[in-house]
Each structure stands twice: as structure tokens, then as C-alpha cells.
Amino acid sequence: MNERLALAHSPVVSMDAITKTFPGVKALDQVRLDLYPGEVTALVGENGAGKSTTVKVLTGIYRPDAGTIRIDGKPVTLSTPNDASNAGITAIHQETVLFDELSVAENIFIGHAPRTRLGLIDRAEMHSAAQQLLDEIGAPLNTHTLLRDLGIANKHLVALARALSVDARVVIMDEPTAALSHKEIEELYALVETLKTQGKAILFISHKFDEIFRIADRYTVFRDGAFVEDGLVTDIDEDGLVKMMVGRSVDQIFPPRQHKIAEDVFEVEAYEHPTEFADISFSLRRGEILGFYGLVGAGRSELMQSLFGITRPSGGACRINGTPCVIRSPADAVANGIVYVPEDRGKQGAIIGLPIFQNITLPSLGRTSRSGFLKIAEEFKLAREYSTRLDLRAASLDQDVGSLSGGNQQKVVIAKWLATQPQVIILDEPTKGIDIGSKAAVHAFMAELAAEGLSIIMVSSEIPEVIGMSDRVIVMRDGRIAAEISGRDLHPETLVRHAAGITTTPQLQEA
């Protein structure tokens, strides 16, 4: 492989000294990035390093303030998404932008559908061409299926087929695996290999190091909007990459925990829901981190949302500090000191359109105001306190929360809830899709909060996180509690077995 890479071949796309400034923030500062045909280049960096901005520059959504983009050595201007598409650059985004109400074939060919002589869409031709593309990538999909009936993994396949249909030479994959299961990820890898053999240049953005080392040929590291280094993946190890990303060495992965777990704070008894979960009973102690592990669809988020009052359970009771609590709405939950940091940051967490400080104070307005009247100075005071505590990176507190990177938006959402001084905080996939630096910060912060006496429920699908952070883990399967594990029994294997419902005695452990 090394030999092949060493061959002197020139990049398809080459970004040189690209600079992009937003009010108050230099998103990209003279960065360079080269993409080679038949190779996967991983773009690595913390949240806010400028990865998303780079993608937007390449796809014609943002126009750079300075610098040149060359395609096959010739300078080009990509002023619109159309220009980028014509130049053969296509992107598959974190949340792939497709049309739910259209069929698979229509999604693939929207904007460039084959036409009949009368100028109408040639549906037969479109479906057969779509089928051909899907076959090429080995996607077992019916071209007539409506997109809304597909899962995320299959939507990615459609997006990919779409990318191939425009004869793309450059495919940008922005966290393509974020929402995929293990098996689906393997399928995606296979697909990336296919694309490579077809000579496509691939830009791969991911926070997961195992992925980068598995499929990338080259890496480029950005930090705080600036280029740090690039090279061949074979010449670097994980530790080296992390150092480049954060500009410091990350010696510990999970913070040490102080175990001062005391009395029960929150008790849930026989919670049930007609379709999502049944027979859920557990208790949470002061200063404890209780992990909830399970496969996607095990009912964890649904349970958490009903504890937070979003959905009404059909039965069961809960007690906070021994007092029965009636939770009919999120407002009731907040009043009882129970708060929820949702998995879907953009939709359920942050209120995009409102400035950072207003996002942070929204559930605490009762405290920052006087008899219903806002006190802006008090709001800034509270927002400042918690944004400092979470090391929020922003140009100002008056900035729209939507202009922040994912990791910083997550910090705003966590800050919003901590500012209410809750007793129980439910974190649903708290580090999903955020970079390794922010991740470590969130973990350290969780440990700190638990040490201060906050009780934490953490829903996570990442086994190292579950094991590294939790005092106790509840494994859910098919809407029920499959096991409660703590102490020495906390093994990755035990978790996976309970989550998947494998009952035979583990043999690997003996080996």
C-alpha cells in the first residue's frame, strides 16, 4: 500500500491558503488540504477546528475570503453548490439532506433526471439507472420505496448512489458512521473500498480513531481553524494524532472517580409504556453515575423522555428524595429537579435562533427575573458563570447558538440544565458526535458533578464510556431491564451479552 501511495501522483482537489472569517471568529486561517484520487484522506480536528467550514467551502456553500482551490491543478471558483457539483465534488453529510416524501430513484436523480424527448422525466429510465447505481454499490433497495421508510444506513446508501449518479470525482463523507450500527459501518467501509478502486478521492471526517486508522490513507489535522500537519496514516499512531489535534497530550481517558455515593435520590417503580418499555424499576443514589446501556431501539431514550415528562407512562411511580413526584410535563420534571440533555441536540437541545445566554437561562428565568420581568444583567451573570465552568468557546454570549460547533452547542445545553441546579441530570448520548478533546472535558465534568453530589443517569452506546464512567450499569433489552451490573462484573463482554440477549456461558472469558 505504501508503495502505491508513494507513487508521484497529483491531487484532484487542492485547497491552498484558504481563509474564511465570520464576525468575531476566524473559522479557517490559511489552511491547505489535498485530496488524491483513489485515496481516503481523513480530516481530523476537535470541534471548532474548521472541518465543517472546510466542507462548506468545498461544496460551494461558503465562499472563502482568500486562498485558491485547484481542481486538476487549475484554479476554480466554487460560488454555489451547483459549481461544486459540476466540478465533481459531492458530499454526504452528518444528517444527510434528502427528500423523505420522494422515492429512492427520485432522490438519486433529483435535479438531473433523465428526460424524454418531450422534456418530461423518463421514469422508466430513471428507475433502471437508479437500480444500476444501487447494484454497483451493493445496496439492496427498491427504487420505488419512499425515503421516509428507510433507516439512516439505507439513506446513506441513497446519498452515495446520488453522489455517484453525478459522476463525482470527490466524495466528502462528514461523519457518515455517526448514526450507524456496527454491521452497517462494516458495509460502509466496503463501499469506501469500492469507491477507492473507482479512483474517487474521498474526504472522510470522523471523530472515531479506529475508523480513521482502518480506512484512511492520509490524514490532515486542523486545530482552531489552522492547518497543523498532514501525512500518511501509516506513518503515525493514535497518540501522535491526538497530540496534533489538541496541541497537548491526553494522558488519561477517563477521570478518576471519587466514590461518595450516599442515599437514594430518585426511585422509579414499575414504569411502563404501551409500546416502548415495561416493568422498569431502579433507584439512583446521590453522587452516582448510573449508566444505561443497550442496543439502539432498546427503549432507553423513550424511558428517559418519559421520566422527563415528554411522553406519559401508562403506569408506574417515581419518588424524589422519598416524596412521590407527578411528572406530566418537562416543566414538572424541572420543578422536581430532574433535567434531560437530549441526544438530538439541534432539535431538542439548543434553541437555534436564540443567543447563547438566552439558551442558558431559558429554564432558569424564574431565578434570574423578578416577578416575571427579565433582568438581563442577571442573565448574563448566570450565563457567564456556567459558560466559564464548561469552557465554552464562542465569540460572545450574545451570538446565535446555531453558529457554534456541535461540541460547544452541547456545552450550552449542559450549561442550561446545570444552571437550574438540578438533583438528577439525565444525559442521553452526551458525547455522541463530539471530538475527543470535548469528550474528555465532558467526562471530567461529569465526574466533578457527581463528586459534588449530583446524581447522573448516562445513556450511552459507547462501551468504553459506559464502563469508564458508570458506578453501576443497567442494561436494557426490548424495553425491559435485562441486567444491573456493577463493580467487577463490569466487562464489555457482559454488557454486550445482556444487551443482545445471549444467555450461554461466555467462553472467551475463560480463555
Binding site: 468575531g24 439548543a350 424564574g366 457567564r384 460572545s396 450574545d398
Partner: protein, 334 residues
């Protein structure tokens, strides 16, 4: 470079000063438009700069603006009420009916407000409890409320309002200042404070920007929306009292088409029709803009139909202007 200490970054509260933000705001642009219209008008007609004429001109917008303030909050929250003019018709009809049974001014005011509130509650139940889209519900109630007025009144008109009732629409507080102007100012201040200075107003913005996020932040979204529909109904009741008092009679066609003028005023005032942003000062200035334009054109003997063309062009023009400006600025840079 590899071992930079992690330092706590200080995030400033705001980057731009208050003056800068005001200067760049939509409201500032609208104010400039208002001044321009005022100047053009005073040159175009010798009758324009007359205190009594200007005072008369305020009737062009005061009643609509009362509703527009409540409507602004409703639209910011992501909902709309198109039944406001029909509520005026129904409230006015109810008052006219009460007059036939000998009701006095206090009873009439109470009836006007009560009908407004009830109609608002009726809309609110369908939108917030049944979860139906407000645009559909209020198009329905628009026909329903006015239809009831037509059934009660047919081709007739209610007259015979007590003379003390005329105070609301025809009275003067001092010199050229009318009772309606006073009401306009009071209501503007109340809604301005409600939207910009209270927790309730903050909730309205949060809901308009992201209703799911607002719910997940512990805001009682449906309750806030219910109150907004009640307020819009109530303001329609107030407008019904003023308008009925000014006209001295009730016909079922009263305030026909006014809902569109109210929505126009709100949008012209810078409220995003999709919800999430806008301000009361903006709506106040928009009210003046619309009032001045219709008055100026009236003095020039421009017929009403042409006037609506002007209002339409004004709306599109003022909305397109900042966009055109941005495009021009961008192409100059490139």
C-alpha cells in the same frame, strides 16, 4: 507548541454596542422610510401638515395596530390568527344586539371584550388542545364568526348606540389627541413590555424558534400559545369596541378584510412570518408607515384600490430592500 496549558477562555457578553445594534436594525430602516414618506407627503399636499388632518389620519391604523400587537406575538410564536376581523364582526354584532335590549356602555364594553376572549379561546382549543394548524383553524373560524353575524343581521344594521359609547371611537383626550391614540399608546407599551421585558415574552421567542426545544426546556408551550390566542381575541374585542363606537352602527361586513392589513402591518414591522423574530417597536413604526401612506394618498384623491397596490408594493419593497442590499454588497466584494 505541543504543551499549551489549557486556559479558561473569557467569552465576552456582547460584541456590538447597543447603539450599533439599533442603528443596523430593521426598525431603523423603517423609521427612515417613515420620515421619507412624511417629507414626501408634506410636499405633495398642502393639507398634510395640519394637526387635525393628521389626527384624523391616525384612525387609519389605531384599531388595526391594537390587534397587530397581539398578532405580532402570535406570529413570533409560529402561529397566526386570520379570524380577527371576523371576531370584530361577531363582537360588534353582539354589542348591537345588546343595545336592542337596552344595554348601557359598561355592559357593551364587557360584551365586546367577552366575545373577543371567547372567540380567542375557541381558536385556542382547536390549535393547542387538538393540535390543528392555526392557519386552517382560523380560516375556518373566519367564516364561522362572520357567518353568525350575517345570520343575525342579514341586510340590516344595528344602530342606536348610547351617546356615551361614542367616546371610545370619537372622543378626544386633549386637543387633537383621540381616545384611540391613547389606547394605541397604552396597548403598545403593554405589549412591548410583555414581549421584550418578561419571561413570557422570552418563552414566545423560544417557541417560535424551536417549539420542540422549548418544550424540552421546560416551557409550557401549549399554555403560552393558548394565552396568545386569548390575547389576540381580546384585542379584537377592543378594536371592535373602538370601531363600532366610531362608526355608530354595526353591519355584518364591518372590518371586512382587516385581517390581511393586520398581518401586513406585523410583517412590515419586521416580524418573521415563519416565527422566531420581530419586535413591538417595529410594529409601531409599521403602523405609522401604513397610516401615513394611506392618508397621503387619500389627500391626493387616490382611490382605495390603488392604495392597496401601494401598500402591497411597500410591503414587498421594504422586505426585498435589505436582501437586495446584501446581494449588492456581496457582489461588490467579490
Amino acid at each position: 507548541m505541543s504543551d499549551i496549558a489549557v486556559q479558561t477562555r473569557h467569552v465576552p457578553d456582547r460584541l456590538n454596542s447597543r447603539a450599533f445594534r439599533i442603528l443596523r436594525s430593521w426598525e431603523a430602516l423603517l423609521l427612515a422610510v417613515t420620515v421619507a414618506i412624511f417629507i414626501v407627503n408634506s410636499f405633495a399636499s398642502p393639507y398634510f401638515l395640519n394637526a387635525w388632518n393628521l389626527s384624523d389620519a391616525t384612525f387609519n391604523f389605531t384599531e388595526k395596530a391594537m390587534i397587530a400587537f397581539a398578532m405580532a406575538l402570535l406570529i413570533i410564536s409560529g402561529e397566526i390568527d386570520l379570524s380577527v376581523a371576523a371576531i370584530i364582526a361577531l363582537a360588534s354584532t353582539a354589542m348591537g344586539l345588546a343595545v336592542q335590549y337596552g344595554a348601557g356602555t359598561p355592559e357593551l364594553v364587557a360584551i365586546g371584550l367577552a366575545v373577543g376572549l371567547l372567540c380567542g379561546a375557541f381558536n385556542a382549543v382547536f390549535v393547542t388542545i387538538l393540535g390543528l394548524p392555526s392557519i386552517v383553524v382560523t380560516i375556518g373560524t373566519m367564516s364561522l364568526f362572520r357567518g353568525i353575524s350575517y345570520i343575525i343581521l342579514g341586510d340590516e344594521a344595528f344602530r342606536g348606540y348610547p351617546s356615551s359609547f361614542a367616546w371610545f371611537g370619537q372622543g378626544y383626550i386633549y386637543w387633537v389627541f383621540t381616545v384611540e391614540m391613547l389606547l394605541f399608546v397604552i396597548i403598545a407599551v403593554i405589549y412591548g413590555v410583555l414581549l421584550h421585558k418578561t419571561n413570557f415574552g422570552r418563552a414566545v421567542y423560544a417557541i417560535g424558534n424551536n417549539p420542540t426545544g422549548a418544550l424540552f426546556s421546560g416551557i409550557r408551550v401549549q399554555r403560552v400559545k393558548f394565552i396568545l390566542f386569548l390575547l389576540t381575541g381580546l384585542m379584537s374585542g377592543v378594536a371592535a369596541i373602538c370601531l363600532t363606537s366610531r362608526l355608530g352602527s354595526t353591519r355584518p361586513s364591518i372590518a371586512q378584510g382587516m385581517e390581511l392589513e393586520v398581518v401586513t402591518m406585523v410583517v412590515l414591522g419586521g416580524v418573521n412570518i415563519l416565527g422566531g423574530s420581530g419586535s413591538i417597536p417595529g410594529v409601531v413604526i409599521a403602523a405609522f408607515v401604513m397610516g401615513l401612506v394611506t392618508f397621503g394618498l387619500g389627500l391626493l384623491n387616490v382611490p382605495g384600490i390603488v392604495m392597496s397596490i401601494f401598500i402591497g408594493l411597500l410591503l414587498i419593497g421594504v422586505i426585498a430592500l435589505p436582501r437586495l442590499w446584501a446581494i449588492a454588497a456581496q457582489s461588490r466584494k467579490a
